[in-house]
Symmetry: C2
Subunit: 240 residues, 2 copies
DNA sequence: TTGACTAACTTGTATATACAGGATACAATA
DNA sequence: TATTGTATCCTGTATATACAAGTTAGTCAA
């Protein structure tokens, strides 16, 4: 599947952890054992194990080995750039995407700032509602620079824009910066979402960058309070 | 400062980025140049650069070099296990910690689950209010296993528990898992915080683990809606 | 002038080796 | 019995080498 040796080993070990072949609390084979199993060098094994460690799947203990953590099997693993489609699939819940708006606009002041574009550039604006188990829970407003994404259709937006961008347009999405806060809900929120009695929404601002560090997408995702949940894993660096 | 070569190089480059010696959008010296500057091997340089990349400080571009990102200079960099004291210092705002409770308890059902302990074990319970610019904004409820943390005092809790744990007790905090959601505020919230008209609080559950992957602290941090903000940086892995 | 090629740079991957230092089991010793 | 030493696992760090592959600037020929 992968060209990369260490990434395919990472992937293989990860699937063994997720399938429960390696169980939480137990040790995975030692680096030297894995060297023999995968017929590669120790450094290559270590690259794969370090990735697993950074992403919170294993804990390496000097002198002992690597044990499988169980901190990852959570309800709502948004952490780490996952798309709505992937997420809905993981949760196994019936979900639907409704495209409410799809148009080309000129950026206003706020958008110029968020997308780092001039007033004359064309911007795709996509407004979608995410329905989970029959309830309209999330309002997604995506903005793409038309220079980078020349064409979009209702059909693409209903499926997965990310899949289209990565597979069709061969764009390499590299990293994203997310920002969360809580805000009073707007008229737009009330129009598109089933808000019940709630007066506030959780806003997630998402800035997505390509391989060459250029910003190409700005997304504002507005969640109903009671349905929002976020999980984060972080390691601490010790100097000394 | 550090024993580790690659960590001290990481630290040195990081401080140069933060001080603006390396400016956002510009390239840092190439790997081979850094090899000469730090008189070390390329692999060691690459370890330092990969850390910077994972933490969102630089973007490495094949064939070109590493450019400095500016996505990190945000108001509220909680991402990555930072303590309240460190945070308040970074923001440069006048802040105060008020210890409201400090006692040893036996865990109830919820706590038994969160801290993975039996009903007979002693647990430190610390309740603190974080005051920023005169307003009581955050309610922190910390629970420590007394086996791991035998002694605590009001004085320690007012300063930084983390500093005490790491410097005095030599505990090696390794990683943490955070969980966020929004909840209706409780009587306790109303008692301790200046909640204004808000009916909900943002709850951050924090599970902190030591080097040997043992859970030793559970924290529930309750934030007033309008003062909550969280920033996250994530890279996407491509399996080609 | 244009276009193709090349040389010299960059980062990415894979390998091998060496040694430091933590964990553990077991045998030797007091 | 209790302790100490030792051999042997383990992971962590540092180094060197080789080649792949992307970028860029300059050269040279059509």
């Amino acid at each position: 599947m992968s060209e990369n040796k260490y990434l395919s080993i990472y992937n293989d070990l990860l699937s063994k952890i997720e399938k429960g072949i390696f169980k939480p609390g137990t040790k995975i084979p030692s680096e030297n054992q894995l060297v023999e199993q995968y017929e590669t060098s120790r450094e290559t094994i270590r690259k794969a194990l370090n990735l697993l460690s950074e992403h919170g799947y294993i804990q390496k203990i000097k002198g002992k080995g690597s044990i499988v953590l169980d901190v990852r099997k959570f309800d709502f693993p948004i952490s780490g750039l996952i798309s709505f489609k992937e997420l809905a699939q993981k949760l196994g819940k019936p979900s639907r995407t409704i495209v409410e708006q799809l148009e080309i606009i000129k950026p206003d002041e706020a958008l110029k700032k968020h997308l780092h574009v001039t007033a004359r550039e064309d911007i795709w604006k996509v407004v979608r509602v995410r329905e989970i188990e029959g309830e309209r829970i999330i309002l997604d407003k995506d903005f793409f620079n038309k220079k980078v994404v020349p064409f979009l259709s209702k059909d693409i937006c209903e499926r997965s824009i990310y899949e289209y961008l990565e597979k069709e347009l061969q764009l390499k999405i590299s990293f994203a910066k997310k920002e969360f806060f809580v805000e009073e809900c707007t008229e737009e929120d009330r129009m598109y979402l089933h808000l019940k009695q709630y007066t506030h929404v959780v806003v997630v601002r998402n800035y997505v960058y390509l391989d060459d560090a250029s910003l190409f997408q700005y997304t504002e995702s507005r969640h109903r309070l009671d349905k929002f949940r976020f999980v984060d894993f972080a390691r601490r660096i010790h100097l000394h």
